[in-house]
């Protein structure tokens, strides 16, 4: 039985990846994500896996796609500017339905900005950073324990749906240390991709059945297969007809929508019957809970809905939590209220939604949220 230890969020992410079976890491150094690469460099050889330090983030993303198709669970870690560089090849992973996990420890921008300070300003980059129109999953931890749990979950979602999952803590969560007990093997569910079983000549590496995900062979097995960045049919070969393109794009979306409860994760704190709902994610959740607790002491019924999954957006959960509230507060560490816009789309009366924003590279404190409550 392992005992609890004080560990860092980034270390918990690395441990979560190993627990989930990750055996390939390729990356390029960038703060505040560097600890993940450093731990992967020392641990991967012990696990029989490979660590590769690539020449840039474009190469890192390319390498993990290649490794994943060779059968390895693969991941990389970066921060905002590096994540920008990964977008093109991340889009290719979407087109090729290649399972992988990317950690984006969010830092302040634009550009080099306040390089090592926290922010939650990549929320739209997570969702729409790539050209084209496609689904990825993005998970945001608020605690060290969640760094571990959500990373395991990220690999499970990636493998099950042949999709790309981004784990995006902000700098504070990546660097904070909290007491954490590493689960024993078997304690948490670990999902592996489904491999083909039929005749090799009949193997189709892509499926157009709504909601279905085709089995994924590994290079070097009995199943010869073709993966391309271009529009393709079920056999993996280029196909540019309008019908095929429409089915392909629809499939990329529907495979995640079919079983959405499996992907969408939220946490509710006193949400039942709340007058004011705070919708928060990442480190801000902690400030929101403190602000809500103080308000309840004063007799104001405030609930907090924490979004652990941000993409696909937990629309149903937000709408349900907000149904009896007279106002909804969305505190975020960005200027534009990137997620507040999404909340407005699902709350019946959009004028009910108020924002609290901080964008100076410092953490959001409970009093900033408290002020917005009254």
């Amino acid at each position: 039985m392992s005992t609890a230890k004080l560990i860092q969020g980034n270390a918990a992410i690395a441990q979560g990846a190993f627990y989930a079976g990750a055996r390939f890491y390729a990356g390029y150094p960038i703060t505040p994500s560097s600890e993940i690469a450093q731990i992967a460099a020392s641990e991967m050889p012990k696990l029989g896996g490979v660590y590769m330090q690539m020449e840039d983030e474009l190469a890192s993303m390319g390498a993990i796609i290649g490794a994943s198709l060779s059968g390895a669970k693969a991941f990389t870690a970066t921060s905002g500017p590096g994540f920008s560089l990964m977008q093109e090849n991340l889009g290719m992973a979407t087109m090729g339905e290649v399972p992988l996990v990317v950690v984006n420890v969010q830092r302040s921008g634009p550009s080099t900005g306040l390089a090592t300070r926290p922010a939650q300003s990549d929320m739209m980059q997570l969702r729409w950073g790539r050209h084209g129109d496609q689904s990825v999953v993005a998970l945001i931890p608020a605690t060290v324990a969640e760094c571990f749990e959500l990373t395991v979950k990220a690999f499970n979602i990636a493998e099950k749906y042949r999709t790309q999952v981004i784990v995006a803590p902000d700098e504070v969560v990546g660097h904070m240390r909290e007491s954490f007990r590493l689960p024993e093997p078997g304690e948490l569910e670990v999902i592996d991709r489904v491999k083909p079983a039929g005749e090799p000549k009949d193997y189709k590496p892509f499926s157009f059945e709504p909601g279905a995900v085709a089995p994924l062979a590994a290079y070097g097995s009995d199943y010869i297969f073709h993966v391309t960045s271009s529009m393709h049919g079920e056999d993996g070969y280029s196909c540019n007809t309008p019908d095929n393109a429409a089915r392909r794009v629809a499939q990329l979306h529907t495979k995640l929508e079919q079983d959405i409860d499996d992907v969408i994760m939220v946490k509710e704190f006193d949400v039942e019957g709340c007058e004011i709902l705070i919708v928060a994610y990442g480190v801000v959740t902690r400030a929101a809970r403190t602000a809500a607790a103080k308000a309840r002491e004063k007799g104001v019924k405030v609930g907090v809905l924490q979004l652990q999954t941000v993409w696909p957006f937990p629309a149903k959960a937000v709408a349900k939590a907000a149904q009896n509230a007279s106002s909804v507060i969305v505190p975020e560490m960005n200027y534009a209220g990137q997620m507040a816009g999404e909340v407005r789309k699902v709350v019946g009366d959009a004028s009910m939604v108020r924002t609290v924003n901080s964008y100076n590279g410092t953490i959001m404190f409970p009093d900033a949220i408290e002020k917005a409550l009254y």
Binding site: E55, L58, G66, A74, S229, G236
Partner: protein
């Protein structure tokens, strides 16, 4: 003696190929297929990793596994494929724009790491797919759609670059000598570590007509005349200025490749842990 036809490695139902009349790409497909046949490699254990552009479409014509990637990044993808499964034979198909211009950084580092990959870089001296623009291998003063008065930039020698970066095997041939080309590719695949085979090939639609070579046959004649052995090249005065280039094998060494070095590191770790 049995002569290789390469047909087991060519996806005949994808034929005829999509390239222009007189293009050299078909010859390179055949040269690779024959090399694979001579080495008796199992198509299930081969991955063709390709980039974007005319030659980047070549993966469609092989019966083995394929990964058609983004522009310039084929070597990065191939690095992941190979290091996650060292049993695979990985052949990387890139054009000059793909492998040298946008992908130059990856070429440098794949060679430096000595990844056990065989890069077949088909150089047609311009961007064919997008309309004949200048690339990093377009000769100085050559006319392209984006160097209409002559190319003001100098070109890069891909083989020299791979050599200084640390590739284990480097060769250049032209499509005018298909059998010799196939032999080089075969040697490159057989040699562990990073192998680069640059293939000089005509772009008969865009590059040739703009540079006083109206017919495909003019381009083939150019490749045959100007592509000379290293020994002959060294005897020609101002060879580069006259447009001569070296063909043949330039590097053949046996330095440990990345996977071998990583294995050594792993064993060192196990010994340390064992103590």
């Amino acid at each position: 003696m049995k002569y290789a036809t390469g047909m087991d490695y060519i996806k005949t139902d994808s034929l005829p190929h999509m390239w222009c009349a007189g293009c050299g790409d078909g010859i390179v497909v055949r040269a690779i297929a024959c090399a694979l046949e001579n080495l008796e490699l199992d198509p299930r254990k081969i991955v063709m990793v390709s980039g974007i552009g005319c030659w980047g479409k070549a993966d469609d014509y092989f019966t083995c596994n394929a990964l058609h990637t983004t522009h310039g990044r084929a070597l990065a993808y191939a690095t992941g494929v190979k290091s996650a499964n060292p049993e695979l034979t990985v052949v990387v198909l890139m054009g000059d724009g793909d492998g040298t211009t946008i992908g130059g950084n990856h070429l440098l580092h794949a060679a430096r790491r000595n990844m056990d990959l065989t890069a077949v870089l088909v150089n047609n001296y311009n961007y064919g797919m997008t309309g004949g623009q200048a690339s990093a291998t377009t000769p100085h003063d050559a006319v392209t759609s984006t160097s209409v008065l002559g190319n003001p930039e100098r070109s890069v020698d891909v083989c020299e670059l791979a050599k200084v970066a640390g590739a284990n095997y480097v060769a250049r041939e032209t499509v005018a000598q298909g059998t010799r080309l196939s032999k080089r590719i075969q040697e490159g695949i057989a040699n562990k570590g990073f192998s680069l085979i640059e293939v000089a090939s005509p772009c008969t639609t865009l590059f040739g007509p703009r540079n006083k070579m109206r017919q495909p046959v003019d381009m083939l004649r150019w490749l045959k005349e100007k592509g000379v052995s290293e020994a002959r090249y060294d005897k020609i005065e101002d060879a580069a200025a006259q447009g001569y280039f070296k063909v043949g094998k330039f590097v053949e060494r046996t330095d440990p490749d990345f996977n071998t070095s990583y294995e050594v590191m792993r064993e060192r770790l196990q010994q340390k842990e064992g103590k």
